[in-house]
Symmetry: C2
Subunit: 719 residues, 2 copies
């Protein structure tokens, strides 16, 4: 059945005149369409005549399938699997262990440095015939190497004289699905959950295989299937059988399955009276439960836990620490080599301190108290996935504990799946932030890849944006954020531009001019969104509930969920004073970072209002006053969406009509909503600044009441 | 863009070796796969060399596209569109008005009898060349004829010596989508609504075209897009623009769009103080609203209304009658040739009478009081889409008013999209019921097609089962219910077996033995389900809320929503006495039907407990007591599901693996749930009968408490 599914792709790919194909986006970046550039095609055709994968395993089989499908599609003819190298132009893939051919190639030394998941791609000779070797120590590495090799061809790179060595810099590269068991997805904007729990385990959608292919091709090797706002039901026998069916499908692709553990599960499904992590019955219940899980899923990855945050139960309900809670679970999974990812996203409106400081305050004292199979999962910034935040001060502040970043791929605060926003620059900004913890160059990336504090257990998490929409992510460009997360998890030092280029070439076109044009659109898109949503360090001023449109006026309900808590606009100025004269959140950063943020003159302007309450007439680098600059940025944001629209229109000839039109229609909405953000925010802040909107900028279309009362009817997601 | 989409099909179809194709069910019964039976293929290839459609219109264009796609796919080569008949083997399609060729063929007389939607398919000669003519008076008829002709080939029927005349027997053949604006679907079991309101009107899914193709191919010409439990928002300008975008797509396929009208809309979106249908402002508001609707959708079909039922507002809120409410809307749409479909599904727990009688009691006195553009929409039976009900007593009882039946295609009470239940026999049973209103032969079908009471406005409605699941309907066999509804709406006298045969051949295989095997499965499937759910006239004993599993013990809440209200089991017997000594619902039927139902000896056993409270030891035709027969029927139901499973397994070689496995896995669940129905119901009723389960039958697996407390976790649908 699986075989058939792959072959559909081949059939599709071989079948036809490319112009005839409708493109619904289902194939993501794994399109393998016939190469229409004849020069490139001829070069490749000369170099690729056949392929061999010696040895047999589920992973090698899917690697072979992928190679077959990719080569046949790209080259438009059958590239046969052969049994021995009798001519030049053979792709040889495998491990020294399974493949005599690979073992004979004297790669031992180079392979020694690539570990369990890395690979080599090397042009060499075997019995005087030219071959391209994809070699790894383990089968998973072979699969990753095959995807890399196909990517070279998909992106029209040279495949002669290859000498590539690639090793993932983090051990666990995991998607977090905030998917509920009823198939709704929290902050999901692409339809229902992929996991059709009601049909599982009896019936298995072929789509699960394509999900696994997509992940493996981007380097992702883990998936936490369920929402961090967890439901204990997933830990019952009935659901574990369903989870096992998914795990069986993902396993050949090197992907492990993880689950969210509801801390109160012993009470809810175990009928215990307590979930106290130091209670013997509780400890015992989790041990047995974990043993049961592993009886269904022998390579189960472990647990992801949100505890004592936003109403979720946790160890503090029993006056225990996060460490005591995490360690109890860690001890249960340790005999099976499982891990626990414990989220640091904790804050409480009953704590009088600045919300941005609370995770640090709670977790730093626990440094060194966690078992060695526990990772602390830290959001990129200290509040909550805003269009721009400074890096989280926990990075570097817990040297005795492995930290993993949690990035959001789904666009909760960045226009859902309506706005074109490429998030790699956001991830990159965080990863390349310098904590200065061990002097200059102590990048967040080095905290994460373990090199700064010498941790072996390393990981990166991304909150998934995929759903059961045909094109997976709703916005065609949102696919790029899934891809980019995987690539940056593999190598946190990659540049956004490189990732964008790969994705565009694989997903849309290899026309150089178009690639450059779209790349520029993508690379600027996040800053554009920051401008029309939250310029200059503003944050958390969105509509309550759906987080889509502007809501700087939100002032009711729990204080740390209002906007006025964050922007603090008044007649004197705007911004949250987090310096030593304010909440002193700056103190959580290591010098000189804290000093740079503390000083209004050195604080980066893109974080100015995050750290400072700034007078309306304060002069910025542009020479404008703060008030004028705010207006200017909002206006610039809107204008830039129009620029995006123009650039996309100019790309028309190189984009298939279905996806072209889809993006066009979304850009119309993005412009409409950028204007609503601009007008709503400017008019609202103007009630404090009492200053005119600078001349030359577009005047607001309606008055403030209109924006305050505006109800969207077309935000994606199920409500 | 549309063109491209069609061509994808062609590409898919031409491309490949059939064995290589994964089949996800998306293509429904319009698969047009290459004919592998060489004898059939050769015959067809000789007879079909090219095609001509003279004239141009959106409908003729889609007819041409379909013909091209179908012929190329079935015959595996390009069958060219040509400009004149120079050799034999040409398909000529069109209308005399648009096609000189058709006009010259002397078909005037035959065409006179086929109306606006009917067509002829005739083998004839033109200038001494053999041609096949698909002729109609209007373009829509040409499209229907093309689908019919392709169906002949899809089902391997002869295409020589053709002389087919087909005319729809009802004017409006309409799907009712119970789709909410947030994309959930009430009683929908196939994912979210197809209508992506948030993307409309800017972005239009190619899927809408395939929805229209599927409908047109089955003869469906209308679609009510929104839930009868209505949301007034759909009548706002913003939504009307979205509706118009859909109407534009459906129009070439002969499909009109209808909306549900929330009776209180003038208050909710019109800011009026009342929705009283006799209030001048209200009348005026609806007139203007309707004018606005027609400004967006010039061929808007009209309104479907659920009023004063299950909490919906209606004219009775203002002490007006259903006729006064319906007529007010009818007057508003009449200038635009619109219609109103007013539902008779009304009942009230504050009315002390038998729920089954209430619609009749309310509506019969209104006969003749409705405007001539109003249809009364009557469910097939007097309660609510049960596995078996007698025909609704309103059929025949309102000769002065056009009645249209409402069938349920979605399986609310028939196993959601988990159970294999072919519903054509249920529809057929109702349509072929004899009301005896004008003597023997006064079939429900004749009430509906207008021949009994000489009505010109005729219609049939089906509550849709489609959603955004890839295969449209969840269960692969549920597609057949969509198809069957359309075919029976076109011709209410068709037999279920004929429809099943067509569908199987188009959807799965033309292997005769397999067609017969699957046809038998389908034709027996509904009776099997009646047996394990509600044998012998039992009804409405399902689980409260989801209506999926058994709940004969349900006895709380609103009385006419409990099960005990309907089965009335006690120590003396079981069943609802609706004879003259009971609720006297039988009196609503015309003699001799009422007498047949009244008399326990003549009442059909399959409706026995619908009309009679029967002693446990009453002897049935089988020679068994009632109690034993109940047990026997439940047991038989379960055994028959196993038989279904066996028959399906035997069909394996002729079914593509993906759909084969999908159905297999669903049959496993169906057997599991049939047993739960059987055991739960038998054990519960045994608490009244106090009699043993007859020897030889399978003993219940658990005790009654288990079934009473059983919670399903895998019923389709979003809750």
């Amino acid at each position: 059945m699986k075989q058939l599914f792959y072959l559909l792709f081949v059939t599709l790919i071989i079948s036809g005149i490319p112009e005839l194909k409708a493109e619904d986006g289902y194939r993501l970046w794994l399109r393998y369409d016939f190469i229409s550039d004849t020069q490139v095609l001829n070069l490749y055709t000369k170099s690729v005549k056949g392929w061999i994968i010696q040895g047999d395993s589920p992973t090698l089989r899917v690697a072979g399938n992928e190679l077959q499908m990719g080569l046949n599609g790209l080259l438009g003819k059958n590239i046969p699997e052969i049994s021995s190298v009798k001519k030049s132009g053979i792709i040889v893939a495998g491990t020294p262990e399974n493949s005599q051919l690979i073992a004979s190639l004297n790669l031992r030394e180079r392979l020694a440095s690539v570990g369990n998941e890395g690979y080599l791609i090397v042009s060499t000779k075997y019995r005087n015939k030219k071959i391209i070797v994809i070699a790894a120590n383990k089968d998973a590495g072979v699969l990753y190497g095959v995807f890399h090799f196909l990517r070279l061809m998909q992106t029209h790179q040279s495949i002669s004289g290859l000498s590539i060595e690639s090793v993932p810099k983090t051990k666990i590269r995991i998607l977090n699905h905030w998917d509920n068991l009823n198939r709704t997805v929290e902050r999901g904007y692409a339809g229902l959950s992929l996991w059709d729990w009601k049909s599982l385990p009896d019936s298995v959608s072929p789509r699960y295989i394509d999900y696994a292919r997509a992940n493996a091709s981007a380097g992702i090797n883990g998936t936490a299937l369920t929402n961090v706002n967890a439901n204990a039901l997933v830990l019952t026998k009935e659901y574990l059988q369903k989870v096992a069916a998914l795990a069986d499908i993902f396993r050949p692709y090197g992907i492990k399955v993880y689950l969210t553990a509801r801390f109160s599960a012993p009470v809810e499904i175990g009928k215990l009276k307590t979930a106290d992590p130091l209670d013997n019955d509780v400890v015992d219940w989790w041990k047995k439960k974990v043993d049961e899980i592993y009886s269904y899923i022998p390579d189960f990855g472990g647990f992801l836990v949100k505890a004592n945050s936003e109403g979720q139960p946790g160890p503090q309900n029993y006056k225990r620490t996060h460490a005591e809670g995490a360690n109890m679970l860690a001890d249960a999974v340790a005999p099976h080599n499982g891990i626990v990812m414990w989220r640091a996203f904790v804050y409480d409106n009953n704590v009088p301190d600045d919300r941005a400081k609370q995770a640090y305050n709670e977790f730093v004292p626990l440094d060194g108290k966690f078992r060695n199979n526990v990772l602390i999962q830290v959001k990129n910034g200290p509040v909550d996935f805003q269009p721009r935040e400074p890096f989280h001060p926990l990075f570097g502040a817990m040297p005795g504990t492995p930290l993993m970043p949690e990035f959001q791929i789904t666009q909760e605060y960045l226009g859902s799946s309506v706005h074109l926003v490429f998030l790699a620059p956001l991830y990159e900004e965080c990863l390349k932030s310098d904590t200065y913890v061990r002097g200059k160059g102590s990048l967040v990336a080095k905290v994460i890849d373990g090199t700064l504090d010498n941790h072996q257990l390393t990981a990166m998490a991304g909150v998934s944006n995929v759903g059961n929409e045909r094109n997976w992510t709703g916005h065609p460009f949102a696919q790029a954020n899934w891809y980019a997360f995987g690539r940056l998890a593999w190598d946190p030092y990659l540049g956004s531009g490189e990732v964008a280029g790969e994705w565009i070439r694989m997903t849309y076109t290899n026309d150089n001019e178009t690639v450059q044009r779209i790349s520029k659109m993508m690379l600027e898109s996040r800053e554009i969104t920051v401008n029309y949503m939250t310029p200059l360090g503003l944050h958390h001023i969105m509509y309550a509930g759906h987080h889509y449109g502007p809501g700087p006026w939100v002032n009711r309900g729990r204080q740390d969920w209002t906007s006025v808590y964050y922007h603090r606009a008044d007649s004197t100025g705007i911004g949250f004073n987090r310096t030593s004269s304010g909440s002193n959140a700056v103190s959580q950063y290591f010098p000189p970072v804290r000093d740079i943020y503390e000083n209004i003159e050195t604080c980066p302007e893109n974080l100015l209002l995050w750290f400072h309450h700034v007078p309306w007439d304060y002069k910025l680098e542009s020479g404008r006053t703060l008030w004028d600059e705010i207006c200017y940025r909002y206006d610039e944001g809107v204008k830039s969406v129009r620029w995006l629209h123009g650039e996309w229109t100019r790309s028309k000839d190189f984009i298939d009509p279905d996806r072209f039109e889809k993006v066009q229609s979304l850009l119309v909405k993005q412009e409409r909503d950028a204007k609503i953000w601009k007008d709503g925010c400017i008019l609202y802040f103007q009630t404090f600044s009492k200053r005119p909107i600078p001349g030359g900028l577009e005047k607001p279309v309606y008055d403030l009441d209109y924006y305050r009362n505006h109800e969207y009817t077309d935000i994606p997601g199920i409500r």
